[in-house]
Symmetry: C5
Subunit: 305 residues, 5 copies
């Protein structure tokens, strides 16, 4: 996630970092040169004048508006749902620890409570690693008992495994008489929530927006930009390349952002800061049981990952 | 579901598989030839010049934007709701098994637990077969006791039957003193969820977007494309067929995708990979109770079914 | 609900049943004749040439797009919410019967269970009759005890009455020791759901989209169509009537569909098939308790009512 | 709420009641005269010809479409949410009375049950009066015990007070052994719902759509209408005033409806019929406990308040 | 939040406070002067006539409509979700106090009940201070026991701490036999709600709309306004500056409002009145337990903060 202070309206026009402009420069330069050639030959290809005018672009434009609008809303909804799911993870982790503290008769400082908090922290790290296809061993080893860690290594779906460990913790507490059936059920309802969070993240991660949309949108946008200079050259003359590149920039940039947001769990600049959110969970849970708070994340340039 | 890696922006312009272009080629070729004829006769039919210009197309275009936009959003919502329902099935199956493990006093390796897991796996297969109108016998026979399988054969709504078997399992567990009333109710709440999933899938499957919309949209799009070359020929000349076919491609392709997504449980390229999702459920549940994991699905070309 | 198989793109252009075209023919014919007269007089009324051109229609068009788009989305949302509510009724009926079977200690074949199932079936019929303002006596008499039927006759809100009978059934079961407090509460939660379904249907039924919207939209669409031939006649000449009628068709048809969907519980072609859904409920519930399945609905032409 | 039967498409064009036209007549007349003056002087002010043409209006139009579309959706959502909340009140009142009847061991005809029903009815009236800033004393006195009524008079937030009385009723029932803990909790969950309904209504009532939107939209619409005759006069001539007033009518009427719906609890023609809904609640609750049904509301002209 | 009475349509055109016009005056003046210069030189820069016409602006306009529409909807959704969360806080605080009163056997006037109410009031103030990055000490000291206040000072996430104190209060009540397990669980469910409210507010506060959108939108709008006078000067002549500034005003103002609403917990004019809402909570809770009501907020000009 890009984290920058709002600047004055004038300064914002020339920002470089946090814009997608840098990665679009090659494409837009190509289009600029192409437009210049067309202006030079006055829209004539091999002695054939290409008879385009702005009218058909309004018709194209309609299709582009439909596609871009749809694509962008769908992508942003996925981004925001991803954020909500991780927000729900923060919420649910706090609720579960609060329940462990107030519905059981364990002492606040007992090793059992600490074990429960560690399972919850490990859970968020495991989910992060599953979504980013990275190795969770270092993060789990720190927080799990060596025996649980060993078992976790053979398991593919680690968050599900940890959730089961949480359920087991409650079962054990009940067998030890530290919690009654009703308390167990209250915690169980929040464990259902954890299931829903994992499942929701997996859904966003594994099911992209249907591929065919992307292909169709992509083609429409790029062919539009390719035809544009032919359509503008007669009326705009030497201004054609500038206007073409600027219109192309708005459409292509919009498509590129939508593409980044579609899968919000990655490590691209506009993706969600899963590391920072894991740390928030660790911080609040540690605070609740009086454990030392981990050191806070450093902003790497403008990017919070 | 089409599963392809993202390619460079340039490569994406020429993709063939994963686009709906192949199935549209006949229609678009017809339109191309038709446009060429109109250009050849200069927009004149039997000595009558057809006096169209681009202006009315903006008015048409408005109607098309309204219809296509609505149709597409409605279809995508159905697709995505279908995906959410199957995601909820994954979530709910895991939750139910976790509850069977932690709220009852059965041993993790007991045959009862295995029976419960098998019922859940059979449930997802039964739902898939109901939605795709295929025969579920092979998939059920593997996972049900022979007695339950026999009874299932006389039943029309198999998922509802299996859900009732799950409820019966819990009732039996209670009679055997392995679970108390409160635990039973916690499981019952998740069984309600299963009902909601089956009902939701049936709703999407049995109630299409009102038929009249499709007819209206279809007519508007195709008549628009038919009139288009008359409107463009005076200003665009020999370029008319190319522009006509390209505009037609964007609208017709958009309509075709919306049509595929409307019923997301089928086996068209953009439909949901129900087989893969059943396998995911089988895999996680097997992992939770330490059973061997089934072999993973092979990608058939680019399609995950 | 219109139920037709998808046909080829070409065949769909000439469909008559399932389109709203039939009921629009008089209006569109009137407009056709009117446009022809205008073409004949070349847009001149009593020697005054009406100086319209396509430009103002783009401005009008904007208003129409706003109104039609809004009206259509609101209507479709009501249709789809209505469908969801009836889907929830299917779901909830199954869940309640499952609970009656698994949370009580009644035998599966006992008369009490059958009575409960019958109350649920009667409930769906009663709701249908309330929404369609038809007489529910025949349907209720078949399924209620004669005593309950007599009482039902004096009651205005029959679904609420039946819901209360369901609650009474549970109360009696509890007094007979067949269910405990916790089981009663689990069923009670689903009875709350039934309340929500009835209330939701009543809300859609009794509160249309504010009347003023309809008036405003109606006027804008019809005046637009009335002015249109004046605006097109100078540039389109003899083609004016065809284009006018076609544009009018798209807008008027869209408004007409929205009007039908606004109240989805009636018996117009695009309304919800409440009869078929009552039968689905009856079928699944009968299957669950091993009762004979009622005969399935016959498609009346293309219409499922 | 305006309640009129649907009329034929032709009749709808000339409806007066139920349209916002009456209140717009002065403004539109002003605009008509203004346009006529401009036509008379041919768009010339003090010898300066105002050089407007339709082109900039397309750009303006875009802004208006954005603003009106947003404003209207936001207003309608508030209207519909308000309706849902009152629908939920109907639902919840029925559920609570059903629970009081089936979860307690009070007799159906006992004074306690009647007191509970009266508290629920009083609750809906109190909410109505709070939202409309009217005096609730008459309505409360009829339904509360004189002692409770006296206490209610010192309280600002009357619905919250009545909700607390309902909770007290349950507490007393429990102390008298008429309901157990689990039943109390089931009712408590529905009391939470009542809280949510009151809070939701207060939210809509106290937080309008940000004021700045209204100002901006208002200015854009009116300045647009003011400039319009200058832009149209050259091409439309004597038709300018008619077209101007008609376009202005669509935009201004749309804004006016949005304004009415924004706060749906008032007594404007398109507002929600809170009186009728209170009466619906009173009717169904009376029916459930066999009390006489209050007389039904009379439609005052076309308005249900 | 700006709170003004609705004025007549004419008066609204000239409102100054409550509009964003004041902060836009410098930018718009700059644009006015710039447009005048262009009109003076007739659109010629250094002897080069800039050959722009209105056509490309329709294409630009499309992009702007897409961006502004999306940005505005996303911002308003955040504003409204923020309002819903604070509304839920009002709802939930009342529900929790009602539960403390009716599910425990404490006397209504007991110090424990008062402590619970104070914890709830302190909770809302703590959340406000966290979201506005202000110091909560004064507000907490008044409502917490000195011991709890001391502990709160070392804690970063104060609302979470207070929520835990509320849970502790219930735990203590249970140990003292004033509430049973089932009552505890009912309160615990509402404490989960409090978690969800805090988490939701933190989500909106910490995750802005992706930065890149803002940059892209900003550039498109400002470059559009910069090019606009070149495009209009040939057809509009001396009217160019007025029309340019007015179009610019609508777009820039819309962007500015969206920017204010994006983070609704601040103290800008259109932000949510968190102070007033804390006071509402304090007022209703005090009323419920018969404590004196705090003095009501004074409207500072038109702004409720």
């Amino acid at each position: 996630m890009i984290q920058r202070k709002k600047k004055s309206w004038f300064y914002m026009l020339f920002i470089w970092h946090g814009s997608v402009l840098p990665q679009l420069v090659p494409r837009l330069s190509l289009l600029l040169v192409f437009s210049m050639v067309i202006v030079y030959f006055n829209g004539t290809l091999y002695h054939y004048k290409v008879p385009l005018n702005p009218a058909p672009f309004t018709l194209f434009g309609l299709a582009i508006a439909l596609f871009l609008g749809f694509r962008n809303n769908a992508s942003y909804d996925r981004f925001w749902e991803g954020r909500k799911l991780w927000g729900a993870l923060v919420i649910d982790s706090r609720s579960l620890l609060r329940q462990a503290l107030s519905l059981t008769t364990y002492d606040n400082k007992s090793p059992q409570i600490k074990e429960f908090a560690n399972l919850l922290i490990a859970f968020s790290y495991a989910l992060k690693h599953q979504l980013r296809h990275t190795n969770s061993d270092t993060d789990l080893q720190k927080r799990l008992s060596s025996e649980a860690f060993e078992r976790s290594k053979t398991i593919g779906f680690k968050p599900t495994f940890l959730q089961y460990e949480l359920a087991n913790w409650v079962k054990k507490a009940k067998l030890e008489g530290k919690i009654d059936s009703i308390g167990q059920m209250a915690i169980d309802a929040n464990l259902n929530q954890l299931s829903a969070i994992v499942g929701g993240c997996e859904r966003i991660h594994s099911t992209p927006i249907p591929y065919t949309y992307g292909v169709l949108l992509h083609r429409t946008v790029y062919l539009y930009c390719f035809f544009l200079p032919f359509g503008l050259v007669d009326s705009l003359g030497w201004l054609t390349p500038i206007i073409t590149v600027f219109i192309a920039y708005t459409f292509v940039a919009f498509e590129t952002i939508a593409d980044e947001l579609e899968e919000p769990f990655g490590t691209e600049p506009n993706d969600l800061p899963l590391n920072a959110m894991c740390l928030t969970i660790e911080t609040t849970l540690s605070e609740m049981i009086g454990e030392p708070i981990p050191s806070q994340p450093q902003l790497d340039g403008y990017i919070l990952d």
